[in-house]
Structure formats: structure tokens, C-alpha cells
């Protein structure tokens, strides 16, 4: 038997994905349709390994407009699968069968699968499958993909339809349309095989040039078809396309009369009742806020943060206590030990200052009465949090406190870098090789895997929200706000998650179907300050502005403002032009989501992150490891000590670009090196400053260097530096995610380039105007900044250029 291909077609929300998973099991291949970012899935039928099943995108029609529709019909017309399985939602037959009437016109064998028959039975409606099959003149199977019933019969119907290869019988569209179709077939299309004529006749009437351009009609044929269409339209006083669409729906209504009984058309279903509350005029926004807080709290703040911390600090850090046993006791001892350290250091320093000998012989009177002030530093201020007086007795007591050993408190599992590092050391591997493996590769893999748990938690939520029907309501509730900025209501979730970390935020944009809205969301999500930018914000705010309470919130406003400005600005550019996608959207019935499909969707998205974004992140981690650890020192390229960072290749690159930042107020090499290091991870900006200003390792917010920063920068130049770092290209991990979601190198380059150019413009305008307003002289750069501002203003306020027709931009 020759290998067969069967296509699976149907409306969105008809249960197509569930059926596809049922039919193919784990035997799937996921890719992309050529030229578009629409996902393509193929698999082999479970019990017929020689049959390939191609999952077409979920569509309502075979129109030539959305990328999904174009992909589906191009595939059906050009690849000609041996049969089509058309899945229809039994609870929504009228609209679902509209697509069926189009599929039956293609001249291919069709099997209709009426899904959700369990829900139909429950609601008290009746569908007479036998009658429907007779009227459609094609095999109809009654199934429930969720409950896994009727599937075997569907498969055998589909396989035998494919083997018999009998073209489906089209549904008649009424006397007038039928006669004009016959006319077109006879006069323009006699050269085509019989079963293909009807489809092309329809397309000629509908003036669907995309479908008919390959026909190569003679001039006479084309003119005949055009004349018939013109006569028909004049007679009907409407476009042929509209007449045909209306005729299709009328045919469907006639089909259903007698084969489908709705129990009570006006009774409220459970879904209607839920919707009454969930999208209620007053309750909708509060309910939305609660759902979002829950999603954020669980996937970012609690569960997400726990697993991420465990992966970063435990598995890929020093190590962890098995099951957490002994951790509390260990941490208590550790605290005690660090207090003792501060006591001894302070006392010894005081003794040294006073010239008192603490080491040899009996202690002098002076030593006995000596007290020292031990300072405990806080996180948020360069001033000590508290000061304690240390006496000799306290000092001697402190000397007896030993550093706690992890092994004494429970089962300590060392982290991967510790184990591998120790192993490499025992093999006496060259230091640079050890560093490559531990700081380059393992840290790189760790950086990827660190995101994974959080990503899975988030994807689980997204899958739940989508499967239960709430995601469509989010778009419904927020459309009014977001469409002004060229975004979709569904852009809210990526932005919200992006305030934790841009990587899952960008990945969350997957739920936006429209290409334009999705790309816009991907490009702007990283403007929202992520968790890793907070230390940088705290450092600048603390060092130069005295750490006021409004400083961090202000940066969020800047982020939101950057999103809005970019949305307005970009939607007028040729890349994003075109009328906003028509917001004619189905609000699917609320459903209890099936566990299988939710988990599968979570897994597929998570796995695609590991595969696609992961490889980019891993490679760039190794690259960054190399340029930041190696440099030309003492006349040769070699690995550097931590303190020699200013000689690294990264520092040299930073120094090379430093002049670029002169008009922004931070043209010193330290700033540009810190900015470049920020590409690895934004919090690195703080630690890089620590090293570059000679303070070695600093705490998270770098309080140790605040004084140095305050001397190095003015308030204006520091703010400019912060603005640039907030808005410019995100870290490599986020760029990897952008690459994955854009699925296109040029679009990735555009997004990163736009972000950086936008950041540069904002910093330039801010710095130069702030200088001018604080009494600086008017320089050439002030003029450039004013011109840049005028340019911004023009791009923002110019009238929207006339758009190309919806969808054709894709």
C-alpha cells in the first residue's frame, strides 16, 4: 500500500489539537509552514504507521487573508492530501459547517468528525448523525476527543476514504449561484480535471487572484469569466463574494433543519452564566486583576522563584541540603559566625589603631579596657545599619566561633559546579580549561536551566487560561486600551510576566495569534524593568538620589511609557503598517480544560524554549565568558585574575565604544564596559562597577561603591546611564527568547536594533536637555538632541499612513 497523507482541518476551539494528539500520540514532528510563523505539526497515525496526518492551522474559512488561511488552502490545493478529516464542534454546528462547505468544494475526499458529542448530549440537543451524513453525502463520525470515544471508527472511515480516493460531493449553493458556476466552469475552465473546476470557478467569481493566478487562462477565458462575474453582480446588486458566503450559510441552515435539534435556543447555558459574571461591566476588571495577581504571584513570586533559586543557588551554585533538612540550623550558625567575624575584625582594627598588642604575652591594661565600634552594613545605604561596642570579652568569645561545616547539619548535596570543579582540579586540568567548563559551560547551561522551572509554571498557567476560554476574554476586556498602541489585549500578560523576567514574558507572547501584535509585543516587552534591573536601579537611586521611595516605581512608569511611545511610533512604520487586525473574535464557550492538552501545551512550549532559546543562551554565555575572562596582559593573551577585568577583551570592546556615549554623558570606559557586561545579565552592571572601581566583590546593590559613583557621575549623567541600561538591548537570554519567538533573524535584529536606538535617543534627549535646563551651554549636541526630539515628535504625531489591506502584509 502506498503511503497516505491525511489533513486535519477545522475551526479554532473545535478540539482539533486534542484530536491530533489522540490520533498520533507522541509520534509528532513540529515545525513551521514555509515563509510564515504559523506552526506546522505532522505525525503518524497510531494504528496505521504508513499514514501521515498533517495538522492544518485552526481556521474559520479558506479566505485568502490571514496567514493561517493561506497556509491551509495552499497546502490543500498544491499538496493534495489523499483525504481531509474535518473536525467540527457539535455544540456549534452552524458556523463550523461553513468551513465544511468550502472543504467539500476542493475535490478531495472528506470525512467529517462531529466532536464534543458528550457535551451535545449533556445540553439536551440532538444531532442526527445519519441524516447529516446523508445530506452532506460524505462519511460523518461522531466523536468526543476529550472522552476518547468514536476515534477508531473515525480512523477507519478516514483511511478507507483516502484509499478509495472519491472526491467529496459539494453542497449545492442555491439555483442562482449553481447556474453561474456551471457557466464559468464551461466557458473558462474546461481544461481542468472535473473535480477541480468548481473550486476555481468559485475563486474566479470571488476575484480571488491569489488562487487563480496559477491557472494560466487564455485571454478569452479570463474575459469570459470576468464578464459572467460582472453580470452576476449586477443582477444580485452585491459582490459575488458576499452572495456566495450568504448562500453557504443558507445552505448550512437548510442542512441542519431536521438533522439538528436545539433544546431551547434562549436558555442560558452554564458558559453564559459564567460569562455574565466574568465579563460583567463592574466585576470584569477586578476579577481580571485577581487572576493576574494569582498568575504573577504563583509563577513569578513564589513557586517560580523557589524553583529558580534552587536551580541557580543550589543545583548550579554551592549546593543544597537534601530535602532542606538542616538548612535552618546551618543558617543560624552561619549568621552567628559572620557576627563573630565582624566583632573580631573591628576589635583587631581598633587594637592596631591604638597600638595595642593582642598577640603575645599577658594582655596590657589598655587591651583590657579597649572597646571597638563594630559596624553592621545594611543593603540599602552606605551608612551602617547599626553599631555595636565590642569589648575584650566579646572579642575573645568571638574568636572561639568556628565556621560551620555544611556536612554537620544534614545531608549536603554539593552543586554541579562544585562537584565538577573539584573533579577537574583532582585531574589537574589546566586552569583555563577548568574555568571554561565551570564558569563558561556549566554557568551557561545553568543560566538556561535556571529559567526552565519558572517557564514551565508560567506555561502551565497560560495553557489553563487558554483552554478554559479566559484568554479570549482578556483580549475582549482590554482591547480598547491596547489597540491604541498597536498591541493586543493579550499583550498584558507578557508585560506583567516581563516585570519578573523578560525571558518568560517574551515567551508568553505566543498566545497572541496576530503576527503584527505579537511582534510588537515581543519588541516592547523588555522595556518593562525586570527583576535583574532592580539592583541597578537601586544602586543609581541610592548613590545619586538618596534612594527615595518613588525612584523604583518611577522606572516602571518609564518602562510603561516606553512601551506606549514605541507602540504608537512603530505602528505607523512600514514594518507594522496596515490596519490593525480586525478584532472580530470568537469568544469560545468556557470549558473545564483537559489535563492532557494543558500539560502537553506546557511541555511543547517549555521544550521549544530549551531547544531554541537555550542554544543561543548557551553559546553566548561561552562567548561572554571568553571575552570577559581573557585579555592581553603582560604582553600575551591569557586568562585574567578577577581584579584584572579592566584588561579583558570585553573591557577593550567597551573602551572602543566609549566615545559613542559621550553625548549621553557617560563616555568613560567603565560605564561602557558595565553596559556591555549588562548584556550577560543586567545585575552584572553592579558587580562590574564594583570591580572597575577597585572594590572587588560588592553586595547585591553595591552599597560599597555608592560614594565612588556619586563622585564619578553627576545626577544627570547617572540618570542617563540608567535610562540607557533600562531600555537598550536586553540580556542575551532575552535576545535568545526574542529569536525563538520572532522565528526570524531579520525581525530579531530589528527588535534589538530598535530597542538600542530608542534607548540611545531617550538618553541623548534626556541628558542634553537636562544639561541645558540646569544652566549648561547650548552646544552642537544640544542641537542634535533637539532635532532627535523633533524627530520623535514627528514619528509619534504624524498621521497614520494609508494601510495596505488587512492580512496581506503577512
Amino acid at each position: 500500500m502506498k503511503p497516505l497523507t491525511i489533513a486535519l482541518a477545522g475551526n479554532p476551539n473545535s478540539g482539533k489539537t486534542t484530536l491530533f494528539n489522540l490520533l498520533t500520540g507522541s509520534n509528532q514532528y513540529v515545525g513551521n509552514w514555509p515563509g510564515v510563523t504559523v506552526e506546522k505539526k505532522e505525525g503518524r497515525l497510531k494504528k496505521h504507521k504508513d499514514v501521515t496526518l498533517t495538522d492544518l492551522p485552526g481556521i474559520y474559512s479558506l479566505s485568502p487573508y490571514s496567514p493561517e488561511e493561506v497556509v491551509a488552502r495552499t497546502y490543500l490545493m498544491e499538496e493534495k492530501p489523499q483525504a481531509i478529516i474535518n473536525i467540527v464542534d457539535g455544540t456549534n454546528l452552524e458556523r463550523n459547517l461553513y468551513l465544511t462547505t468550502q472543504l467539500l468544494d476542493l475535490g478531495l475526499p472528506v470525512v467529517v468528525a462531529v466532536n464534543m458529542m458528550d457535551a451535545v448530549a449533556k445540553s439536551g440537543d440532538k444531532v442526527d448523525i445519519g441524516e447529516l451524513s446523508q445530506r452532506l453525502q460524505c462519511p460523518v463520525a461522531e466523536i468526543s476527543a476529550l472522552k476518547n470515544t468514536g476515534i477508531d471508527r473515525l480512523v477507519s472511515l478516514a483511511v478507507s476514504a483516502a484509499q478509495q480516493a472519491a472526491a467529496a460531493v459539494p453542497v449545492k449553493l442555491g439555483q442562482e449561484v449553481e447556474s453561474v458556476l456551471t457557466q464559468v466552469e464551461e466557458e473558462a475552465l474546461p481544461q481542468l480535471p472535473k473535480e477541480e473546476r468548481r473550486w476555481y470557478a468559485l475563486k474566479l467569481l470571488e476575484k480571488d487572484s491569489q488562487a487563480t493566478e496559477k491557472l494560466a487562462l487564455t485571454q478569452a477565458q479570463a474575459e469570459a469569466a470576468a464578464a459572467i462575474a460582472a453580470d452576476f453582480e449586477a443582477e444580485q446588486d452585491d459582490e459575488a463574494e458576499s452572495v456566495i458566503t450568504t448562500a453557504r450559510y443558507e445552505a448550512v441552515t437548510a442542512l441542519l433543519k431536521g438533522s439538528h435539534v436545539k433544546k431551547d435556543r434562549h436558555a442560558l447555558t452554564t458558559s453564559d452564566k459564567i460569562d455574565r459574571v466574568v465579563t460583567n461591566r463592574w466585576l470584569a476588571l477586578p476579577i481580571f486583576a485577581v487572576v493576574m495577581v494569582l498568575v504573577y504571584y504563583i509563577s513569578v513570586s513564589t513557586v517560580g522563584a523557589w524553583v529558580t533559586d534552587f536551580t541557580n543557588d543550589g543545583l548550579f551554585g554551592d549546593g543544597f541540603f537534601l530535602m532542606g533538612n538542616g538548612r535552618a540550623a546551618y543558617e543560624e550558625k552561619l549568621e552567628e559566625y559572620s557576627t563573630a567575624q565582624i566583632y573580631t575584625e573591628a576589635f583587631e582594627q581598633a587594637a592596631q589603631d591604638a597600638g595595642v598588642n593582642l598577640e603575645a604575652g599577658p594582655l596590657s591594661q589598655q587591651a583590657r579596657t579597649l572597646t571597638a565600634a563594630a559596624q553592621f552594613m545594611g543593603e540599602d545605604s552606605p551608612e551602617p545599619e547599626r553599631t555595636e561596642q565590642v569589648t575584650l570579652a566579646m572579642y575573645q568569645q568571638a574568636l572561639t566561633v568556628a565556621e560551620p561545616e555544611t556536612g554537620d547539619f544534614g545531608t549536603w548535596v554539593p552543586g554541579v559546579p562544585v562537584v565538577v570543579g573539584g573533579w577537574l582540579e583532582s585531574l589537574q586540568v589546566a586552569p583555563w580549561m577548568q574555568s571554561l567548563v565551570v564558569d563558561g559551560i556549566i554557568a551557561g547551561v545553568g543560566a538556561v536551566l535556571g529559567f526552565v522551572p519558572q517557564m514551565f509554571v508560567l506555561f502551565l498557567f497560560l495553557a489553563l487560561l487558554e483552554a478554559c476560554g479566559y484568554m479570549a476574554r482578556i483580549a475582549f476586556i482590554l482591547d480598547r486600551v491596547f489597540r491604541r498602541f498597536g498591541l493586543s489585549g493579550k499583550s498584558f500578560i507578557p508585560m506583567l510576566i516581563g516585570s519578573g523576567c523578560s525571558v518568560p514574558g517574551i515567551m508568553a507572547s505566543r498566545t497572541i495569534e496576530n503576527d503584527r501584535d505579537r511582534r510588537m509585543t515581543i519588541t516592547t516587552t523588555s522595556f518593562i524593568p525586570c527583576g535583574a534591573k532592580l539592583p541597578v536601579i537601586a544602586m543609581i537611586g541610592g548613590a545619586l538620589f538618596g534612594g527615595p521611595w518613588w525612584f523604583t516605581p518611577m522606572t516602571y512608569f518609564i518602562g510603561v511609557f516606553a512601551v506606549i511611545l514605541s507602540g504608537v511610533l512603530l505602528k505607523k512604520t512600514s514594518r507594522f503598517r496596515g490596519d490593525a487586525s480586525p478584532f472580530v473574535m470568537e469568544l469560545p464557550a468556557y470549558r473545564v480544560p483537559g489535563a492532557g492538552i494543558v500539560l502537553r501545551s506546557m511541555w511543547e512550549r517549555g521544550w521549544s524554549f530549551i531547544k531554541k532559546a537555550g542554544s543561543v543562551i548557551l553559546l553566548s554565555s561561552i562567548f561572554i565568558w571568553f571575552i570577559s575572562r581573557f585579555g592581553v596582559a603582560d604582553g600575551a593573551l591569557r586568562m585574567l585574575e578577577d581584579a584584572q577585568m579592566d584588561q579583558s577583551i570585553a573591557a577593550k570592546i567597551g573602551g572602543l565604544f566609549a566615545w559613542l556615549f559621550i553625548p549621553l554623558g557617560f563616555g568613560d570606559w567603565q560605564s561602557s564596559v558595565a553596559t556591555v557586561m549588562g548584556l550577560v545579565a543586567k545585575e552584572n552592571v553592579v558587580s562590574t562597577f564594583g570591580i572597575l572601581f577597585g572594590f572587588g566583590e560588592v553586595s547585591e546593590r553595591g552599597v560599597e561603591i555608592w560614594a565612588a559613583l556619586a563622585q564619578h557621575y553627576t545626577a544627570v549623567s547617572a540618570m542617563s546611564l540608567l535610562l540607557f541600561n533600562l531600555l537598550c538591548a536586553p540580556c542575551f537570554a532575552a535576545i535568545g527568547a526574542i529569536r525563538r519567538e520572532m522565528n526570524s533573524a531579520p525581525w530579531t535584529a530589528f527588535a534589538v536594533g530598535y530597542q538600542t536606538a530608542f534607548a540611545y535617543g531617550v538618553s541623548l534627549v534626556f541628558y542634553q536637555l537636562a544639561l541645558l535646563l540646569t544652566g549648561g551651554a547650548f552646544t552642537l549636541w544640544t542641537a542634535v538632541a533637539l532635532m532627535a526630539l523633533a524627530g520623535f515628535g514627528y514619528l509619534l504625531l504624524r498621521p497614520e499612513p494609508k494601510g495596505v489591506p488587512v492580512g496581506s502584509a503577512a
Partner: protein, 76 residues
């Protein structure tokens, strides 16, 4: 003539004609809003736009701006 935009919440109307052309009109028709179709206006989104209607047994949302393209007369 009245358009779908003018219809009150809770009203059931019949589509008389669709104005406009191109992709948007096609999309609206593909979703089942064709001449003679019965449309029930269910609600308006909390922020005043878009609207939610019931047509051909399912729920559809569309913007008021687009609803203006749909001419209606009272059901029946």
C-alpha cells in the same frame, strides 16, 4: 439606516446589508454575520468597546467601529 452599533443591549436584530469591502467585510461574513442572520446583542466590554453578540449559536466580539458596517432591521 440603523447599524449594529446603534442596537441596544438585549436587542435581537436581523442583518440587512453589509457595507464596506475587502478583508474586514469578508471576515465578518465568514464569522456568520450575513444577510438575514439573526444577531442578539449580549453586552458591551467594561471599557465601552468592543461589543459581544450572539450569532448562529455562538458568541462573537467585534469593535463598535466595525459594527457600524452592519446595517440592521428589527428581527422577524
Amino acid at each position: 439606516m440603523r447599524t449594529l452599533r446603534d442596537a441596544a443591549i438585549g436587542e435581537t436584530v436581523t442583518v440587512a446589508r453589509l457595507l464596506g469591502e475587502g478583508a474586514l467585510k469578508r471576515r465578518i461574513m465568514d464569522m456568520g454575520i450575513t444577510k438575514g442572520a439573526e444577531v442578539y446583542i449580549r453586552k458591551v466590554a467594561p471599557l465601552g468597546d468592543p461589543i459581544e453578540v450572539k450569532v448562529r449559536g455562538y458568541e462573537l466580539s467585534l469593535r463598535k467601529e466595525d459594527a457600524q458596517m452592519i446595517e440592521i432591521h428589527p428581527a422577524g
